[in-house]
């Protein structure tokens, strides 16, 4: 089950919109596919991103994967705890394992999936 209050990308990022701020992380499917996460390269605060710009790099023992921004805006805050505890993404990807918060430049979310659509999408991948 994926959390019902989130939006999702085809690249398995999740987005939680709260006013004009979106919190971004990766889904349970993503963290399971990556395996044990050993390092997270976080974006610089104030970095401007467009939809699908590279936001962060999550490195596991198997691969280093780019995390893309689900929405456009500027980075407001990063989850500094991941520096010492990257495994938070494995343990609690939807809460403690959040990656960063972005101050939104717009509220167009048409390109994102809701929970039901994402679950359907997961069946196809």
């Amino acid at each position: 089950m994926v959390p019902q209050n989130l939006l999702f990308t085809k690249d398995h990022e999740w987005a939680q919109i709260d006013g004009d701020v979106v919190t971004v992380g990766i889904t349970d499917y993503a963290q399971q596919s990556l395996g044990e996460i050993t390092f997270v390269e976080l974006p610089a605060v104030k970095k401007e991103v467009k939809v699908h710009d590279c936001l962060a790099v999550v490195e596991s023992s198997k691969a280093a994967s780019d995390i893309y921004s689900p929405l456009a805006g500027s980075v407001l805050e990063v989850n500094g705890e991941l520096a010492a505890k990257p495994e938070l993404i494995n343990q609690d990807c939807y809460k403690a394992g959040w990656i960063c918060k972005i101050k939104l430049a717009g509220l167009d979310t048409k390109h994102l999936m809701n929970a039901a659509q994402y679950e359907q999408y997961l069946k196809s991948v």
């Binding site: 390092f39 490195e59 596991s60 023992s61 198997k62 691969a63 280093a64 780019d66």
Partner: protein, 443 residues
């Protein structure tokens, strides 16, 4: 005999299978690049080829007394170095592709990396790169990745061969590469600091620089850091036995040519590029990195670590296209350093400096021969201004048995009469005296 091992019938079969003609297969290659006729002479027997090669080899001058430097130096190599590295388990091993079964190779590389860190006083080194020039290029690319900026300042006292390499590597990249001009043989602070701005990714300098002059870049490191730029220092490893290290100056990346660490001077190499950086940048460093760890039973073992950055995993997003290393050359360096030891390296460096100092005095006392620069802070190499063309003079000295130095006009237009002279621990007082006499005689 055709180079291609398949028969015309087999070629036809293959082309039929993919429904193409030979011309169609090569259609993407521009016509002017297609080879027409190789017009090669008839083959010769092994005996004839050997005789011809021996004839050509005899044209080389061998046994010259070497005062040639410019990035490669004639240091003494203990016989044990080549005895050890010639062991077949080392000699035949390439960079480990099935790394964890090659614990011996990994340990050797790990020890090499540790030695490079101690030598440069940096925190993390990679398993080596092809040579000093490629190492410097990779360091530059690394700085661009780290800072996300586009401008590079490189001083013209950095080895010109490296600068030529960097220019050709970056010709088709949109990198703003600016050269600063040395003043009296060292980095011109005023010019450099003027050009250093918030778009600068890195400042690239060398110590001792191409003219042999010794500098302390601590001030440049501070200035670069205050602008969010990095400092890249290319250095001569033997000199680090007595000189201030890149780490102590505050450099972010230290690179250099490792030939002086037990590798023979040979035309075209193979040589050794070393690279070390601060821990915070280790994930941005190109190439392979060996780490020490413990296995499930708590036994010490070695692994290729941080591989996720490399091209076989990260593809086009990789830190570089380097996924190899100069394993045997790196092994040579660690064996050489182990045999010399900390004190041995210091003594070697001190001998080089002392003998160079003696040679400088002896040669500059010749009538008409002057030091090019005011500074007396050089390591084992210095520039002389001769009263005649340096390239011609060096040519005459070859006839007298000396490789007297490197004529700088090849890379510096205003230095027609300047000769770069290097002195290692191998040169004797007598040889220096003989060079001085020979130079005096040809001038």
């Amino acid at each position: 005999m055709s180079f291609i091992a398949n028969t015309p019938q087999q070629q036809k079969q293959m082309l039929d299978q993919i429904d193409l003609t030979m011309d169609g297969l090569f259609a993407d290659i521009p016509k002017e690049l297609l080879a027409k006729d190789f017009n090669l002479p008839a083959g010769r027997s092994e005996f004839e080829v050997r005789s011809r090669l021996a004839e050509l080899a005899a044209k080389n001058y061998t046994g010259l007394t070497c005062f040639l430097g410019g990035g490669f130096y004639d240091h003494f190599i203990p016989a044990a170095v080549y005895s050890i590295i010639s062991r077949s388990e080392f000699y035949t091993a390439y960079t480990p592709y099935q790394p964890e079964v090659s614990q011996g190779s990994l340990q050797a590389i790990f020890e090499y990396q540790s030695a490079i860190c101690r030598l440069t006083q940096m925190q993390a080194a990679n398993a080596s790169l092809y040579d000093g020039g490629t190492a410097l290029y990779e360091a530059m690319m690394m700085a661009l990745r780290i800072t996300g900026r586009n401008k590079i300042l490189i001083d013209d006292s950095v080895n010109p061969i490296y600068r030529v390499m960097i220019h050709s590597y970056t010709k088709n990249l949109s990198i703003d590469l600016e050269e600063t001009k040395n003043s009296e043989g060292v980095v011109n602070r005023k010019d450099l600091l003027n050009r250093l701005d918030n778009s600068t990714a890195a400042v690239i300098v060398q110590n001792p620089n191409f003219f042999g002059c010794v500098d302390d870049f601590t001030d440049i490191a501070q200035a670069a850091h205050s602008r969010g730029a990095l400092l890249i220092v290319s250095c001569y490893p033997v000199s680090l036995g007595i000189l201030k290290t890149p780490g102590a100056m505050g450099a972010d990346i230290a690179v250099g040519e490792g030939q002086s660490l037990g590798l023979m001077m040979s035309f075209g190499g193979p040589y050794l590029g070393f690279m070390a950086t601060k821990k915070e940048y280790v994930r941005k460093m190109p190439g392979r990195i060996v780490g020490r760890t413990k296995d499930g039973q708590d036994r010490v073992g070695f692994v290729l670590t941080l591989q996720a950055r490399e091209q076989h995993i990260r593809r086009d997003k990789a830190t570089s296209n380097i996924c190899s290393n100069e394993a045997l050359c790196a092994l040579t360096a660690i064996v050489y350093l182990s045999l010399l030891g900390k004190e041995g390296l210091k003594k070697t460096a001190q001998l080089c400096a002392d003998k160079a100092s003696y040679a400088w005095q002896r040669l500059t006392s010749i009538k008409g021969v002057k030091p090019r620069f005011k500074t007396k802070w050089f390591f084992n190499e210095f520039v002389l201004d001769l009263p005649a063309n340096a390239a011609e003079t060096a040519g005459k000295l070859i006839e007298k048995g000396f490789a007297a130095g490197f004529p700088l006009s090849r890379y510096y237009g205003d230095m027609e009469n300047s000769l770069l002279v290097a002195v290692t621990e191998k040169r004797t007082r007598q040889q220096i005296g003989m060079l001085a006499e020979a130079l005096e005689a040809v001038l």
